[in-house]
Amino acid sequence: MAAPESGDGNNGAARMVTLISSDNTRFEVEAAAASLSQTLQLTILDGGGGGGDGIPLPNVDSATLSKVLEYCIKHAPAAANGGAPNATAVDRAELERFDNEFVNIDQSVLYSLIMAAHNLEIEGLQSLVAKKVADMIKGKSPMEIRRTLGFPDPTPEEQAEMNAHMLEYGWAYE
């Protein structure tokens, strides 16, 4: 027998799944939100994550996971509409406002987020963070980029390399 068409929420209530962070915190979310992750979607389609089982995520700590889920819950309705072609301008503006605010955070959190988005294959979240980091780089010199991203100051060798690089073909690339 084929599975019923809407696998989740047979009785009107949305199907919930449990995710377990690396530090053993349990998060219960709607399957639709968790399914924004390509990785989790497969497990969930196979019926995993329900009941008392929970899906362990050994690479994601609870602080990051809660942030990731905040994103997923916000974006789940639009994703369910297939990229929301019918969404109103108001809805889109609201999502955009949310996104802008969402990545207005500390760099270390951005880093954890993009790593988690990558691991969990949440395309939209990875793009959002990558775009934010790209925006942080724009309009800056190599040295300013290093400082912005909190790299240690270059060692003398590295500095020499950077200088040589700029000298050799900086004219073509400046």
Binding site: H118, K138, P142, I145, E168, Y169, E174
Partner: protein
């Protein structure tokens, strides 16, 4: 962020416009390596007009037009009144006596040419070509001055063609300050005598492609001179097609390297045939047929000169000339979208080379650009056959000499 793995770093750097990407390359060695692996993109191209002494026109979206110095106004105007483009390679331009990067608005002068026969501006005896590989580490460019006039004594003596060796002048930005005379030794058998070449070895526009350290120069009988700059060897590659009246031939670069294209009228219908060069069999060069298509449907859809276009690309961006709002868009243009056009029964009266002009290939994707009815520019995807209107280019291009 220091620990960001390469694929995520690529995702970040891939979102940067060229100038910021350039700065990023200097941040650290690993970044440079990641930046070099990003797929290159096409944001606009130059087109040389027949009128006004081969004036260069830059065709792109307004956001690119604003960013790139496509008007070449940063080039010293006293010295080079109306800069014309002699050659181009991966974003750099070769002007008379100068190498220019329009994206950064920088110029680098070339040293005076040693052979007094060839002035810097008048290219009577030789044509200059630019070889620039942004992927090479460190990137540098070379300018190769390829003489195209055979010496009379060579022709009279019945010397074999291709010549056993060929002398050209090369300037290398890495080696510094002067032109170097280099002799390239022939590889492969001779297939004729110089006397037989003389009639075809004329002084018209020639085009060249630089691909993986090798310069491919289009010769007038449509054969290709393959000059390997690293080992001073050269060979001639025969044309995939016979030279014929009314056929326009083009040599260009695209996804798989060197492409040869022919555009002609076949019983009143425009046909376009494309080959690419394959060197899979141990140094042996073969032309592989890629496409053989009719352009009739495209011609029928754009039969008249137009002053309006659904595409946002414009020619020669001017700060004060754009009166409509445009989006600041730094992502690459989506060349894959478009529609498949179908032919109608009626024959459109067209003239290949006038109403239908092949502008060139996308340098990294198998896409051809055509200008129709002296105005509309479309992209034509050679694999999906999708056609997309880019915008208006109301200039008459020099045929087979467009720059990407």
């Amino acid at each position: 962020m220091e620990l960001l793995p390469d694929d995520l770093l690529a995702d970040v750097l891939g979102r940067l416009p060229p100038c910021d990407l350039a700065a990023s390359r200097c941040v650290r060695k690993r970044w440079c390596g990641v930046a070099d692996l990003l797929p290159l993109r096409l944001d606009g191209f130059f087109c040389l007009s027949v009128e006004l002494d081969r004036l260069a026109h830059f065709f792109a979206r307004p956001s690119t037009g604003r960013r790139v110095g496509g008007g070449l106004d940063f080039v010293d105007a006293d010295e080079f009144d109306r800069p014309s483009i002699l050659d181009h390679c991966n974003g750099l331009l070769l002007l008379p006596g100068l190498v220019v990067n329009p994206a950064t608005r920088r110029c680098a002068p070339l040293p005076p040419f040693p052979d007094s026969r060839c002035g810097d501006d008048v290219e009577v005896y030789a044509r200059r070509f630019l070889a620039f590989d942004p992927m090479a580490s460190p990137p540098h460019y070379q300018v190769v001055s390829v003489p195209f006039v055979l010496r009379i004594e060579e022709c009279m003596s019945g010397e074999e063609w291709p010549l056993l060796s060929y002398t050209a002048h090369v300037f290398s930005s890495r080696k510094g300050s002067s032109w170097e005379e280099r002799t390239f030794v022939r590889e492969g058998e001779a297939f004729g005598t110089c006397a037989g070449m003389l009639s075809d070895w004329t002084t018209n526009d020639r085009h060249a492609v630089y691909w993986r350290g090798v310069l491919y120069v289009h010769c007038q009988d449509y054969s290709v001179m393959r000059i390997t700059l690293s080992n001073d060897k050269y060979q001639m590659i025969k044309s995939p097609a016979e030279k014929k009246q009314g056929v326009i031939a083009y040599l260009g670069k695209s996804e798989k390297g060197v492409y040869s294209a022919l555009l002609w009228e076949d019983d009143g219908l425009p046909r376009f045939r494309v080959w690419f060069l394959s060197d899979s069999c141990g140094g042996h060069m073969d032309w592989i047929l890629k496409s053989d298509i009719s352009i009739q449907a495209v011609v029928q859809n754009f039969p008249y000169y137009s002053e309006r276009s659904s595409g946002p690309w414009i020619v020669n961006y001017r700060e004060d000339g754009v009166n409509q709002a445009w989006e600041e868009d730094e992502s690459e243009w989506d060349f894959h979208s478009g529609v498949i056009l179908h032919e109608t029964k009626d024959k459109a009266a067209i003239s290949v080379g006038s109403d239908l002009v092949f502008l060139g290939f996308h340098p990294y994707k198998e896409i051809a650009f055509f200008q129709l009815s002296h105005s509309t520019v479309v992209s034509y995807h050679l694999n999906t056959l999708n056609v997309q209107e880019l915008g208006l280019l109301n200039v008459r291009p020099i045929i087979s000499k467009s720059a990407a």
